[in-house]
């Protein structure tokens, strides 16, 4: 981050620049996507609450039904902790949608414990406290912001010690839990607008590719997730067609099964 002394200069520069008359940004109406794809960065994984926000606008979601209080098992394998951490942060966003302050506070504590277990707790303690404080004040916008900051800090800490693959598993855990809840909501009350939110083929590609590059994590769970993503692909990669209710239900079955496997110790 920039030194504090630079802030006034920065503010002056911003005010000066933003007080200039805005120009309508003129841009080519069309670009060649094939040519573009050579210089494209990886797809950015959305936060679970981006899809929850869109889903919420369709109305009629009783978020309390989807709040999960199960603490989950204690794992020692770091990839499993990373997946669970992502899923628990997604649970935090669900608890915020439900405006369930006690669960949000429990989740803040669980995130801290999981961060300790994976060795990245130093930057998380302050966030966990901020989550608790904001939940006490029922300031849901702040809780959302802190959950985002928490995930970002966890992933930055992992990236700094070259644990990028664990960082990707945090994103994957969150995405799977988000997809599980999205499909549960849409299965319960099917609409084409709701099922369209599943149209995420590039994210599926991204996670498949990432899982293929993790042979060193010799875990059956990761192999199961990869196989499940292959199974999900034809269900969501439907071009301009609608994703039917039966496909949404099937994706829900798959992601629920994976969700159970992420949170529970298999015998």
């Amino acid at each position: 981050m920039i030194p504090f002394a630079k802030i006034p200069k920065l503010t002056i520069a911003v005010i000066a620049a933003l007080s200039l008359p805005a120009q309508a940004a003129e841009a080519p109406k069309h670009v060649d996507v094939k040519q573009l794809s050579k210089k494209v960065e990886d797809v950015v994984v959305p936060l679970p609450n981006e899809v929850f926000g869109a889903l919420n606008k369709l109305g009629g979601v009783n978020w309390r039904e989807y709040v999960r209080n199960d603490k989950g098992a204690n794992f020692t394998e770091r990839p499993r902790i990373a997946l669970l951490l992502g899923a628990v942060i997604a649970d935090g966003f669900i608890a915020v949608q439900a405006e369930d302050a006690p669960t949000v506070k429990e989740i803040g504590q669980r995130v801290l414990n999981l961060s300790k277990a994976i060795g990245v707790s130093s930057s998380i303690t302050a966030h966990a406290k901020a989550i608790t404080d904001a939940a006490d004040r029922r300031n849901w916008a702040s809780v959302r912001q802190e959950l985002d900051r928490t995930q970002n800090s966890v992933q930055q800490a992992m990236n700094e010690v070259h644990d990028e693959k664990l960082s990707q598993l945090v994103s994957l855990g969150g995405w799977l839990r988000g997809t599980e809840v999205l499909t549960a909501v849409v299965t319960k009350r099917y609409s084409e607008e709701g099922s369209e939110l599943l149209h995420q083929p590039d994210l599926l590609n991204y996670f498949e590719t990432r899982l293929q590059s993790m042979p060193e994590f010799n875990l059956k769970l990761l192999q199961d997730i990869h196989a499940a993503l292959v199974e999900v692909r034809p269900l969501i990669d439907v071009g301009d067609a609608h994703i039917p209710a039966a496909s949404v239900k099937k994706i829900n079955d798959i992601t629920t099964r994976l969700g159970d496997a992420i949170t529970k110790k298999t015998p």
């Binding site: 620049a17 996507v33 573009l36 994984v45 869109a54 606008k57 912001q145 590039d202």
Partner: protein, 149 residues
């Protein structure tokens, strides 16, 4: 022993210089991010949640970079681009997966800031294209942040 000390001294100086160079490079991308966040600030008051994550790097004049982003129909998004090079001119535009310009007409460009606005017509992948249109620097740091509501 003297030879050993000289070698150790040179190695130490090289490590220190490398550290300073890396820190300086990183600081500039962080500076660019601060400018992008400043551009986003007024929108936070309008209920946009700005993601902590951001993209950044450096580009030469006339160079572009594309970022692929999953957007959801029903949400509203703003993307803000900034650089610390005050004499630079930057732009950001949003295209759908077919390569068609998809942003709204209130997207804007003001010197070393630019922003693009979209309420996606469809859920799916979009391309966010950033460009350093002009800059006095050989390489110009940039950072892109986004928010949604």
């Amino acid at each position: 022993m003297t030879h050993f000390l000289k070698t150790a001294w040179r190695a130490g100086v090289l490590v220190a210089l490398a550290f300073v160079a890396v820190s300086a490079g990183r600081a500039s991308v962080d500076d660019a991010q601060s400018f992008a966040l400043q551009a986003a600030e007024p929108y936070v008051k309008e209920g946009f949640q700005v993601r902590e994550d951001y993209w950044g790097g450096d580009l030469g004049s006339g160079e572009k970079k594309a970022v692929r982003q999953q957007l959801f129909k029903g949400n509203e998004y703003w993307f803000w681009l900034g650089t610390e090079v005050e004499a630079a001119k930057v732009s950001v535009h949003i295209y759908d997966s077919e390569g068609k310009l998809a942003e709204m007409p209130d997207s804007w460009q003001k010197g070393h800031f630019a922003a693009a606005h979209i309420t996606p017509k469809n859920t799916g992948s979009y391309f966010i294209i950033v460009e350093i249109e002009q800059s006095p620097e050989e390489r110009t740091h940039w950072a892109l942040v986004y928010g949604f509501r």
